[in-house]
Subunit: 253 residues, 8 copies
């Protein structure tokens, strides 16, 4: 919920004054002791909030979800382990879990999905990271086209989908092992490519370093790279670019 919208709701009586007060008094930060929550973004642009859950306790995540829920935000949690989900599901029955992507979502209100982001993987094993990217882009309001297992060792599988991929405003290329998907992709499309190396592989893949270096060293133009297995980061930036392209970006918002 954005500030403008909040004020209008108060004006129209849709929101009680006391609730509006409660929301506004948390500004600029809500300090939970173990976490300082920034409620600015949601209020500024209506975007949802996200929580990186990897090394937080279930209790800490619970506190953060409560705080954002109270503010009327949509919230997405990443890197959520099944046991964390089980704990949280009991406290937030409306919580949704995507186990492959390890993502939870607690939706306050629906989000319209616009434009198009293409999320592609080199192999079957890269799908969990790709789903993290795809769900993130969808959470923030992008339509997503999933195109999986089109790695460069069978280049014709990729070429067969090129026209489809070119329709996206931004492409997310997810690949482990040699990680060459991004380079080939950036040479085929004209819009920006966000490359995500994955930790899929063994031996000299060094947990994704091989794919990361491949992507950083690409001689294809129009590609940038995020951290290994960082599907979230790629989905977030792809959504930014998609919204800029659609015109639903800062100019209109």
């Amino acid at each position: 919920m954005e500030i403008k919208e909040l004020l209008e709701k108060v004006k129209t009586g849709e929101m009680e004054l006391s609730r509006a007060e409660e929301i506004l008094k948390e500004l600029p930060y809500e300090n939970l002791g173990y976490a300082n929550l920034d409620h600015h973004r949601q209020l500024r642009n209506g975007y949802g909030e996200t929580v990186y859950c990897e090394s937080k306790t279930a209790e800490q995540i619970e506190g953060i979800l409560h705080s954002f829920q109270k503010m009327g935000s949509n919230v997405m949690g990443t890197r959520v382990k099944p046991e964390q989900y089980t704990y949280l599901k009991e406290r937030f029955p409306e919580l949704i879990y995507h186990p492959e992507a390890r993502i939870i979502m607690l939706m306050d209100h629906p989000v319209e999905q616009v434009g198009m982001v293409a999320v592609c993987t080199a192999g079957t094993s890269d799908i969990p990271v790709a789903e993290e990217a795809a769900l993130t882009a969808e959470f923030f309001g992008s339509r997503v086209d999933r195109i999986f297992d089109v790695g460069v060792a069978g280049i014709h599988r990729l070429l067969a989908r090129t026209e489809e991929i070119r329709k996206a405003n931004c492409v997310v290329a997810v690949a482990g092992m040699e990680g060459a998907l991004g380079s080939v992709m950036a040479g085929l499309v004209e819009n920006p490519v966000i490359a995500v190396p994955t930790s899929v592989g063994y031996g000299a893949s060094f947990g994704g370093v091989s794919a990361l270096l491949t992507m950083l060293n690409s001689c294809a133009e129009g590609m940038a790279t995020v951290n290994i297995d960082n599907g979230f980061g790629a989905g977030y930036m792809a959504n930014q670019i998609n919204h800029l392209a659609v015109g639903a970006g800062k100019k209109e918002a």
Copy 2:
């Protein structure tokens, strides 16, 4: 020059038939033996062409420039050493050299600059890489705002410029040493940030690896990273995003 434009010029008599033939017969690739030139992009979207000159001989660059010039393309060369420039200047008197950025430009026709890309550096020493990014974005048609020496060790210098930076459709953050500029920046603006680590530093900076890792591991949302010292790659992608935002991207083109 785009294909549509070429055909119209033939139709209107602005271009002679023989010249049009010469251009079209090179399609799809022109093989110089040591290089296979792709003239598609220029014809498809009117963008200029670029040559990575680092490990090419001056003679090879000369051949490539001739080929693109013949096609009516603007051409930009990166990583050009002074002695390469001296050789080329004699053969292409209209050649322009930006020594700090090590860039040459051979312009066939002017390019309109639209929108806004902000190019920021952490320190004075990062300026050459930043200039490579800025000139690249300008070459491809973006307006650029240069904001230099605003590194995080003196955070108020950066905060003083935040409003200005927020006006850009895309931000390029150039930093060596600890490379923290990108993270802070991405937390301050809402549009995408392209982070460029530089090889500025000594000891455990390992030629830019420290800054690269900082950028890849940023917990700020909305940032992706290119190779160490790859100002060109950042400028190229910033231009793509800027054009998508301006609406002068593929939709209108």
Copy 3:
């Protein structure tokens, strides 16, 4: 207990001669076979003793605790696993365990806390390491101000606490992932900053290497770095500096 104090206690009859003998005859080292204990420090300056428990057996730790207890020392153990604690608690009922920081304390006498050390973290996940630093500084006699989750991706959270942080004689900055907290902090305060990289992160954080390199390469003045996750080392040195500042250091003690 210091030597001077010991002798005075003998003189005043507060300590029996036989007990004083027992203490003094262990000088300079007590050899337990698997460990050579140095009782000098406690005797010289009344500081407590510490034991790194990571790869010691519970039996070995028990022996060391007994030996220090016998000497009238406060003892702190770091990197203590819950099962080690369970074993030791049965033998030392007065033992205190801080599970998040994995620290045990066996106190012979209270310690006055003076001056001020600020312990800050970039994120919630860095808190365990920060607690190790904070408890260590407290064990050795420093007052500690805990300021958590003020990472640079939301720079205003940190700026809001700057005045508070400046009051400390020494700042401990704990951060994983990109580890930029230290640089920004050192630019904001005038007293020394001890930076502690943590192993929080994934992918190209390489178990804390990314944060470590960021901190080593900081262009901010007035910062030095300890090993990844070494909250103990940072807390120890922060206490040294704090005591030098307070004047309760070696000159007066």
Copy 4:
């Protein structure tokens, strides 16, 4: 010159109003285009200013020196190459150069040296880095005791100097190759040790990485580490600690 002092000089007529105006109007930053100078520190605490000259042009350094000189600051430049010095000496005849440490100093007013910092090296080859540390500490107002070539392979050379080293409020331990000096030192003294790894060595020293790792992994208490060859950083922090100990720190300032 501090603000208080400036105002008093105006009051007493020692400084003309126009000069005071010129100084104050630059606040908070002076933007030279390629550099944003922060004049706060000098005004706040009377400390001098420093410039990292490694990758700046001689012209850029000249501009920065002029700017600080105009403000009445002492200025020190680090990593100055002989040819940079030659250029600058012609423009600032009072400039002093320490070639071994690659440091220039442009002094506006003398600085009193108080307390004691010990700067030690393992070998003869580590002296240039040690001199950078020593000169930095002296520039900021610390007395320095230089103790060179006391590496651990001849441990008695170090033991012979222990009493002398213990008199310092802070010790800087400079060592390349195996870098063990810091560990032994921190075990011998009770005040903080700042360890500086140097790039002295060959083969598996990897340009100082071996010494850096040794220092980070020290099991001695009371030591922190700066970047490879970063004598400046160690000297700066040693001076901070020394001033805190002397009581000339922030409490009195």
Copy 5:
């Protein structure tokens, strides 16, 4: 010259007995003091000999060339610097130098070239390493098809040559930067691919490590990798495979 051939020449009087003796008495090794030459291979299979010249003095190379020349061998030297060539050319007027590939050849007798090896590069800058591979394969008796600048960022340039490449019994894929050429190639052809990473690139290419890792981690089947810039090794093995395929391998030899 093979042993069988030597004996036949003696029998037919084509070779004098004294010359045959001189050759045979060097068996099995000729010890030059600084080098132990193995004349077995030439005698066993008529293949030529090779010398790695990188860190040998011109005098040492001269001695080795003389020794092989005396045995009637063809000799090829790799990594020969221009000044080494100048020295050697005066002593061996028939010496041939390929400056781009840094190869010298001293031919005793012509070698028939059979079958087909394809040597491909990703970019123009990879040509020197590719030439080392191509000349090596030719020296040992393979026909070579050179296909340069067909990197994956412009995948259609490669696809246009696929049929031609498939005709080879073995493919050498030479690429720096992201090094993805090998993977795509191995997916397109059915014969073995020898991948050669090159040190072309900058920043996170780490002198060829990026390309090396890409190649080692390829999920394409039928590819193996040699050291960075080791065109010689790839050309040698490609020739072995080509001869096995042609049937001029050990079975017929």
Copy 6:
């Protein structure tokens, strides 16, 4: 089954038209959503298909096996965990499991084994990787000679088997720790050697990096290297070379 064979079977009535249609209509790719299967190879050359099972779910592998089985292909799965096998065995009773090599095979028709590939190991611990190589080569139609525990620290064990090894058209050298087997082997035989580093070792073996580097840096001629523990890749390429040598390669097929 190859296309020619398929058509002949239709012609002779051995295969029903509807079955042939089913096979052909999947061309060129069968998209299972999570995987794009390429049935070309089997149809082109009668080779079997392979599935890398490491990070696929048992359900995904089941789907892929079904698809290939339906096409009349032999299928081999690598890196299969016992629990995956248990799941699959219930659904494909004819499935064979080689637990040491972690390979499953689902055979539609027998494969003739020709020529000879030698698979050698340095130690007992390298046998699992060697078995992966050996079974792969056998799956694709090569005879295999297994020669285990002939590492270079007891060089006479290897020399005793040299004559036997020389009979192979291609040698696979599998070694962990110092990984020197490949170099010595390549110096002893004249046919190509595929070196496979294994992750056997501890400490500075870094999970196989030591052996990998040894193999890449070999000064022996005629060797190329695959990824750490990549027995499959080595077996595949050894089979390619063996078939080229036997003449059952593409020329006759």
Copy 7:
């Protein structure tokens, strides 16, 4: 048992002819399929045999023990897990297990221990590796002096034992973390020092790499290094040197 001894036993009737035959017929190697056992050493010099058990199955170790037992050898196994020991103990009731050092011994005949090897550790946590070294040296016939927890952070603990250490013909210095023990030791004694880095440590110790680099880069004379945690290798070589010094080496044997 040595060959000479064996023949004498036959001559004197102490050994039956058939048993001697059985032993001799295994020469030079006994091939168990998964292992090629070298019985030469035992026969040549009466030394015992060793088996590296880390990645062997209990069944394989059993076979190897049987084979050596049959030959009358003493056998020692290293890196033996408790479950491997349990399996083996049932089959070899006389087997002895040293759990801390993970060593098993199966003794055919006693070994005289001569000379002196000193085995020292920096900390308590390094003892398991030190015990591996000490037991190895004892197994091969050296007397061993164990001196534990004398790390350099408390240098006086080491100095107090110097005279004792100097009596050894060879010193083994075992240390993790910063690994500086070796350097200090080599500066204190005149006989050779074998340094063993251990994987004790955390963070930037990188599993022992820090200690390894420290030891390799030592500027002390008279020290060489073995692999991380390789107590066996150090003990073996210390025994060799000790026997050379005692004169029970090859000259007398």
Copy 8:
């Protein structure tokens, strides 16, 4: 000159009292400001002194040589550049330079060479490092057998020299690239092997890291390793072992 010898010379009048006084008064260390010289060793055991000259100025080396010369020591300098030698030769006309090994020697008295050390290299390019080892061993009193270019890629060259190598009390194995010489050697001889990795190689040899890792990971028994290119260290330790074996070690001395 040893202390006992000095006193005897005084007694016999061979040395003047004043000269003896001058020597003795420097004990224990002579502090040159930039260097603390330890004259103990020479006096204790008559061994010569050594100076590592790499990063010392010619003036500093001159001072050190003078100091040792004055004490009647033989002195050897390592890593001496030609220009350093030129400077020193003018001041010490009797100075000897070995340019390949970069060693200078300033001999006060001859040294008897006893026993035998074998110094072997894998290739011609490893000879400079081997010469540093050989000359060092000779300087300290060992006879040396040089056996060059016997690398494992031509294993028979090494086997042909095995008997000769076995005669040495200690073997120094010098190798770059894959560095396998040490492993094979240690398997062939029964006395200790000191392995020296060299920086010879390119690409993935990483300046000697490949050879270093090979040597550290050797599964051969009886080998330890020194730093890359550290011929001096290997020669020193080989001499120690050789003297222990000969009986000229500490027991007789």
